[in-house]
């Protein structure tokens, strides 16, 4: 096995330190929101996790396109890494959102466009993993994975649009705010510091995890190749 790069070890330590700092900033440093109280602090990690999840899926679709165009195996490994990362972080996003929604919307769940879309994204990429599981031939598995990642990526915005035709209650904190949204608020300067810091932290954690996952994927390929040699 190739040696672990120095930079990756640096990323490992940086992720841990950043996460500790971000926890301090969001849980202690950031002021308490006037209307919602302590539960608003979920917001910082909620948005950050969603952001990293989206990056993961974006990595997957770009890798899918590159795989189909070039046929190089490394793009398949990167795509799978992106999707696994996206699945985990989107799940964190949904769970933290639910925790926030219980006191603010008075329900764990509502059929709002963003919530449904996030869930559909999870289902699409779980289906992706099941598709991969059902195919033994590695080349075909990679090709079908890339195709399905692209199809899913094109379909998800349309799901969002199709529900968006109804109105939404999900708040939009960054950019313009919808007057119909429940639980919207303005960020103060200290909140912004905490928010952007946790965004940065999660991005670093995401990069670290993807890197580890790619190395793991390469290792799994080697194991598979060795197994074929033995048979």
């Amino acid at each position: 096995m190739e040696e672990k790069p120095k930079l990756l070890s640096f990323f490992d330590i940086a992720s841990i330190l950043l996460l500790i700092a971000a926890s301090y900033l969001t849980l202690v440093f950031a002021p308490q929101e006037a209307v919602m109280g302590q539960v608003q602090r979920v917001f910082y990690f909620h948005v950050s996790a969603g952001w990293v999840g989206m990056i993961g899926f974006f990595v997957a679709v770009v890798s899918g396109i590159f795989y189909l165009a070039k046929g190089e195996h490394k793009w398949d490994v990167a795509g799978l890494a992106g999707i696994e990362l996206g699945l985990v972080f989107f799940f964190i996003n949904i769970v933290t959102g639910s925790i926030w929604a219980r006191p603010i919307w008075n329900t764990w769940w509502t059929w709002d466009p963003r919530l449904v879309t996030a869930t559909i994204v999870e289902l699409v990429y779980i289906a992706y993993l099941m598709l991969r599981q059902g195919i033994e031939d590695p080349d075909r598995r990679a090709r079908f994975g890339a195709i399905y990642a692209i199809v899913g990526f094109v379909s998800v915005p349309m799901t969002f649009l199709s529900i968006r035709i109804w109105r939404t209650i999900h708040p939009v904190v960054i950019g313009s705010s919808d007057p119909g949204a429940e639980g919207a608020f303005e960020m103060t300067a200290d909140m912004k510091t905490a928010f952007f810091f946790s965004l940065f932290t999660f991005t670093v954690i995401g990069i670290t995890l993807v890197w580890h996952r790619i190395r793991l994927g390469n290792l799994a390929d080697k194991v598979e190749a060795l197994k074929l040699k033995l048979m």
Binding site: G134, F144, S155, S162
Partner: protein
């Protein structure tokens, strides 16, 4: 003949051979089906059974019926559709017909669009039988221009994506189980828009309420035809 005219002649020849081979595949599917009626009868009986189940599960009484007819119809079409898609691709795969098709010197996309058209025809025929039966059983008139347009647009989107995904699903170990799992999350926009538009039509709502859903259906059909056209080559490439 000038060079320009020659290329033009060649491209028209290419076009005719594209439509010819596409048509040949549609014809093959339809005539094979006409002789066995395996797929069609399975889809139809299944669709009728689903409607029966809905009748008892939802207590389709006269007041609620108008609001949920659209939903019942689309769930029925979607379930019956997966049955058809699975079968139509499994037949190609099992007897090695797909390899034969791929060996033929025709454009791969002609094969894809031929299969799409074949699947679309089966779906439309099933729908054309289910609609009058539903109308009679529940005493609602489903023969309205708008509703039929929605059904056509929705079925096109369904067949376009379904054919692409079923051609992948048949090559997997868990193929019968896999197709609905792959298909339903990506077909959701079609189902949402189609149910909404159908139900608005049935309730006689004004056109500006229906238009966004219709636009979405059309956009979906166009976008996914292009995406599937670009990707199908990679599905069958060996």
């Amino acid at each position: 003949m000038s060079l320009n005219a020659e290329t033009k002649a060649r491209s028209t020849q290419g076009q005719t051979s594209f439509f010819k081979s596409m048509w040949a595949i549609v014809w093959k599917d339809v005539s094979a089906e006409w002789r066995s009626r395996e797929l069609f009868s399975a889809m139809l009986v299944f669709a009728l059974l689903v409607i029966m189940i809905f009748n008892f599960a939802l207590e389709l009484n006269i007041r609620e019926r108008n609001e949920i007819t659209a939903g019942v119809l689309w769930v029925t079409f979607a379930f019956a559709g997966t049955l058809g898609l699975n079968r139509s691709m499994a037949v190609e795969k099992d007897r090695g017909c797909l390899d034969g098709l791929l060996l033929a010197p025709v454009d791969r996309s002609a094969i894809y669009f031929g299969k799409v058209l074949g699947n679309l025809i089966f779906m439309l025929v099933v729908e054309a039988i289910v609609l009058p039966i539903y109308s009679i059983l529940y005493n609602t008139n489903l023969f309205q221009g708008g509703l039929i347009l929605v059904i056509l647009l929705g079925s096109i989107g369904y067949a376009v994506v379904g054919t692409l995904l079923s051609s992948m699903a048949v090559q997997a170990r868990t193929r019968d189980v896999l197709l609905p799992i792959l298909l339903f999350p990506v077909i959701l926009p079609v189902l949402i828009a189609a149910v909404r538009a159908s139900s608005y039509y049935l309730q006689g709502q004004p056109m500006d309420l229906i238009q966004p859903s219709l636009n979405l259906l059309m956009a979906y059909d166009v976008i996914f035809s292009a995406v599937a056209y670009a990707l199908f080559d990679y599905v069958v490439e060996e």
